[in-house]
């Protein structure tokens, strides 16, 4: 399926019942050079909207929220060693974590690509 987006600038890509979550290219451009990323450990349960990861630039720190509820199956350990990946490739290799969905219907509340593009346009 295609990506879904949140108002907090996270993207979600579903593959079976596992969702991959990252921050959008717009979000990384707003943050500037990312210097640190903290990703969740596998096995942690997160509810929709909970703090799941942390992303920091020199001047700003943000939480990355879980766009949907579920159990973390993997954090992207590569980001902890090389946080610049978030700037370089936010949409693909710069993903933050994968989680096993507990309620697929939560995805319906999120924006599709066109709606998100419109949302970002209004912010600028």
């Amino acid at each position: 399926m295609s990506k879904k987006y949140t108002k907090d600038h996270e993207w979600v890509q579903l593959d079976g019942d596992v969702a991959t979550v990252g921050i959008t290219d717009y979000a990384q451009s707003q943050l500037g050079d990312v210097v640190f990323v903290e990703v969740p450990e596998a096995g942690r349960q997160v509810g929709q909207g909970d703090d799941a990861a942390v992303v920091e630039s020199v001047k700003a720190a943000s939480e990355v929220y879980a766009p949907v509820s579920g159990e973390i199956v993997e954090g992207n350990a590569a980001l902890e060693d090389n946080p610049a990946m978030v700037n370089e490739d936010a949409d693909e290799t710069g993903w933050f974590f994968k989680l096993k969905l507990s309620d697929a219907s939560q995805l319906d509340e999120l924006m599709d690509e066109a709606a998100y593009a419109e949302f970002v346009k209004e912010l600028d």
């Binding site: 210097v35 640190f36 020199v58």
Partner: protein, 518 residues
């Protein structure tokens, strides 16, 4: 920068200086100590087997090292330092001299109280000045800095709420969006839920929005006044009354007390607790980031909860109440605990009192008036070329007065391709420390200018002329002047991304660097 390269890397009086670890050695020493008497060691199993591998320097080498380092710093003694909200005013040297009197500097905090009556008297005198200037009945002297005083005030509030049995229900603290970052950090540290209050179009607390947030679960409001936009909160008494009506407490961040000292007493505004930065309002030096001192004045509603220790006076002179077991504690006094070892920043108390006595009640009032006058003068002379978000538009009438700070945003830089940071860095090449940038957060690309009362008119005029010239340069598209700035400082822009991605927080011997990284 001049293109001329030198062999040494030095540039005239600007001297490069290595780290101590690169020039000193274990064998070097800059102190002469007596021979050690021959006694049997009593260190038990804790005696070190090796030595501490720190290099030393002889006295002349050490002096040169630190003097060279000092020459890489901007300082208020050398030039205007218009950091809004930080209050970089002249630090009188009389204060330094007084603090170094052996009777204050060479006494131990725990020697018998009969042997330190003068020190306790000084603390009592300082307390009297602070209480009188604020119109509040009690003061906790011990907090070590502004944020610590803020913590003290909020702890007193928490203790008062607990005493009323409302700790489980009063959980919300209202904090305006324009607040200093310490405010929400302090509230969160004490387990309160931080609830933001929006600003109105004037840059003040939105009274209607504030009132909507009120309820019996509100523990306190944390409000800076004058606020971080450099404006006096006009509705402050109404805010205090409404808050008190629902049983909440009014914590005032006193960082900007210097704008009203001697003219307005926070006690008359309904304040329950307020910290006072002795290093802002009362001229104790900032010292490159401390030590500060943050005595906290308290209202009748909170006085009983003031922390230990405090000074009392009686027939036998002055005494410190230091523990909960002290017989001098009244039945109605319930100190919330202790915030520091010993009694606080005595060295700062002496400096602050020296300053207060010098100015007196008349001089302190003049301090506030001149601080406000200087800021308004800057606003008056820059409002036509820069953009002041809460001022009357220039073509619509005379300026809206500010308090001790003039706040600008970055809209005058629109379409120049430059931002607040570029503008600030170009000020460095002109010999000025930049103003506070990007704070308060409620204004885009904020530039907060606080000249203080210790700048002369001539100094302000040159600053204004320089700022106008910079604005002209920005609007004319002189990009290099900004984007490459600073070029004339001891260092050019530093790579903060590298510093944060790969933190190097101490020196390592080069050959060990590879190992240390593992």
């Amino acid at each position: 920068m001049s293109e001329k390269q030198t062999f040494s890397g030095n540039r005239g009086l600007q001297l490069e200086e290595p780290l101590i670890f690169e020039i000193g050695s274990y064998q070097n020493c800059g102190v002469d100590l007596e021979d050690v008497p021959d006694v049997a060691s009593c260190l038990g199993d804790c005696a070190a087997t090796g030595t501490v591998e720190l290099p030393g320097l002889s006295e002349p080498e050490a002096m040169r090292h630190f003097v060279r380092l000092s020459q890489k710093n901007h300082a208020i003694d050398a030039g205007l330092y218009p950091l809004g909200s930080c209050t970089m005013k002249h630090n009188p040297r009389l204060n330094e001299k007084m603090a170094r009197l052996p009777g204050f500097s060479d006494i131990h905090p725990l020697q018998p109280q009969a042997t330190v009556q003068g020190a306790l008297q000084l603390m009592d005198d300082l307390a009297h000045w602070l209480k009188t200037l604020t119109g509040l009945p009690a003061v906790a002297l011990s907090p070590k800095a502004g944020a610590h005083g803020e913590l003290c005030g909020m702890m007193a509030i928490r203790a008062a709420i607990e005493a009323k049995g409302e700790l489980a229900t009063r959980t919300r603290v209202l904090v305006p969006e324009s607040a200093h970052g310490t405010n929400p950090a302090t509230a969160a540290l004490l387990g309160f839920k931080v609830d933001g209050i929006p600003a109105n179009a004037e840059g003040r607390v939105d009274l209607a929005a504030f009132k909507e947030k009120l309820g019996d679960d509100v523990a306190a409001i944390m409000l800076t006044n004058p606020n971080t936009c450099g404006l006096f909160e006009r509705d402050i008494i109404e805010i205090a009354d409404a808050l008190h009506e629902v049983g909440g407490y009014f914590y005032c961040d006193g960082a900007n007390f210097n704008a009203i000292v001697g003219r307005v007493r926070p006690g008359d505004l309904g304040v329950d607790a307020m910290h006072i930065n002795l290093h802002k309002t009362f001229s104790t030096p900032h010292g490159g980031g401390g030590p500060g001192s943050g005595p906290t004045v308290l209202s009748d509603r909170l006085a009983a909860f003031a922390p230990l220790p405090f000074v009392v006076s009686g027939e036998d002179g002055f005494a410190l109440v230091e523990t909960m077991d002290d017989a001098r504690l009244g039945a109605d006094e319930h100190p919330f605990g202790r915030m520091v070892a010993f009694h606080g920043q005595m060295g700062m108390y002496v400096r602050a009192l020296s300053y207060m006595m010098s100015h007196g009640s008349d001089g302190l009032r003049q301090v506030a008036e001149d601080a406000v006058l200087n800021a308004n003068y800057i606003l008056a002379n820059l409002r036509d070329v820069m953009t002041a978000p809460f001022d009357t538009p220039v073509d619509k009438g005379p300026q809206t007065p500010c308090m001790h700070e003039a706040l600008f945003d970055d809209s005058f830089l629109k379409d120049t391709g430059l931002d607040t940071l570029d503008f600030a860095k170009a000020m460095i090449d002109e010999g000025y420390h930049p103003m506070t940038m990007y704070f308060p957060l409620v204004v885009h690309g904020a530039m907060l200018i606080e000249p203080t009362e210790t700048e002369s008119k001539a100094s302000l005029d040159l600053f204004i002329a320089t700022m106008r010239d910079l604005v002209k340069g920005a609007k004319e598209g002189d990009m290099a002047r900004f984007k490459n700035a600073p070029e004339l400082a001891p260092r050019r822009r530093l790579d903060e991304t590298q510093a944060a991605r790969n933190p190097i927080l101490r020196w390592h011997e080069p050959k060990l660097e590879a190992q240390a990284a593992e």
